[in-house]
Symmetry: C2
Subunit: 327 residues, 2 copies
Amino acid sequence: MSSDIKARIIKQMAPDLEQVEKALEENLAPNLDLVRKIASHLLFSGGKRLRPLLMIHSARMCGYATGFEILFSIIFEYLHAATLLHDDVVDEADMRRGKRAAHTKWSAPQVVLTGDFLLARALAIAAKTREPRVISVIANITQAMSQGEIDQLEKKGQTDLSEGQYLEIIERKTAVLIQGACRSGAIISKASRKKEEGLASYGYHLGMAFQMADDLLDYTATALELGKNPGADMREGKLTLPLIHSLAKANDTDREWMHKVIADPVFDQNRFEDLREKLLTLGGIAYTQTLEKDHVAKAKASLEIFEDSNSKDLLHLIADYSIERKV
Amino acid sequence: MSSDIKARIIKQMAPDLEQVEKALEENLAPNLDLVRKIASHLLFSGGKRLRPLLMIHSARMCGYATGFEILFSIIFEYLHAATLLHDDVVDEADMRRGKRAAHTKWSAPQVVLTGDFLLARALAIAAKTREPRVISVIANITQAMSQGEIDQLEKKGQTDLSEGQYLEIIERKTAVLIQGACRSGAIISKASRKKEEGLASYGYHLGMAFQMADDLLDYTATALELGKNPGADMREGKLTLPLIHSLAKANDTDREWMHKVIADPVFDQNRFEDLREKLLTLGGIAYTQTLEKDHVAKAKASLEIFEDSNSKDLLHLIADYSIERKV
């Protein structure tokens, strides 16, 4: 089923995707070659362009048809790339999208400043929408993400993270940006408040499902599929739902063993396999999948107020795919 | 004369300044205590609030009188603080406004993310102006500053920096932000293009004079006056105008000696005193002062189109003070 959905999504997206890629290249417009290099390293390394495509189809579902939706949609890819660059420095992660993270090729200051540049490019295009509420959306996203990252930094290595704390983290880390892209599609279309809230709700639930699936893949996928080593979150001291739920369900012996595995600075592949097994038997994996499916159902239900259309079909497919995907 | 100007500026500014301080506190609104701590460390450590006050009086000169100019003015202090936080990480400077730089008390990621948060707060308030052109101004500032910093990083330690390259650096580093604050005062007032360009020109020349004076103080002021050690720019490998001009005027022997002093990783106070002497005799100090005065004259001339008013008086005083100040 998964590859079938993917094929249908790609087919529907292809013409827009080409235009989005072109707009991303044309609007980068740096004065310095180095900025282009650092920004391009991340921007053109096989991103799915999920956020731009969500904005485009959100706008079209609200009747927007000026053609400017392509230009405006890249706001959210630049913003996404800017946050990834700042996160790379924060996380000291070595791999991103299967390539070396930007900060391992360039200095942290260069990466931080290129992130600032990309945010500036996003703002310059956002100003062209002439919709102050799009700016408010970007402000909210940046505020939530920066505080979320600081909060997550504080919580690093904390082995008693609750499910509630986890949900708050992924909301700020992922859902707020995806929600903002969908909401902005409604704003530029001057859609009714009801439609705007419908799309915002879709984006929120999609974002939550998407991040949960991502966190699950860190335990279930292979290194080749992921483009980075599995178990990366655990090694960085980040507790995600499969582990949090399993810890809550574990008996004292299992919990103690799991805490030891998490806290050990040395990564052991065999022991990681044992941990995966534990997440299966203790139900952490199944529980995460249940929550994912619930968010996908809610995302789709949020679109009920819209008439049927190609764009609506596509947003449904994307919701399904968000948790079916292998990468 | 200098302390007289200062007294007159302070007297005229006092009532607004109090309201600006209040607005800065009230609108910070972080969810996390740590973010408040890091942001406050810089925001409330004796900044002159130059940029907010420039915006306020630019707006008033254009007839703006809704009272919202206080709120809108803090956009430029948050933006300024955000860039200082990112610069602190970049420069690895130890002191800022006489206090330890934020990144020496907190980790670089925490400081970067708090900078992002402050930028987000600036944007949230900018959205309230409902003027997309204010957003364009912020985008231009951020774009110029981030690229300028990257460029300056590249040029660090380069001993053959030209006067033209120096002027480009300080334009992006300082003048663009001050210019943006003045221009935005005109934009929120819906002033004529002529008035807007007049204020933008004032801000540009003030910014250039201001940064040149700052760079000069690094050679002429005491550590107590500066709140940091003099000679800091040289030690960081940043060539500024007094040195650039003196190098251009020096004979081979002097130039060779100066290059040796600049390149030496060990800082010697006595040799630094000799360098100061050299900048006096070779004319680098006088030349910088001439350029400063020229920018101040041009800044004032840019305001000729405006009728006399208290705000215009104040902007004139600030222009004079920008190069008279000792800190």
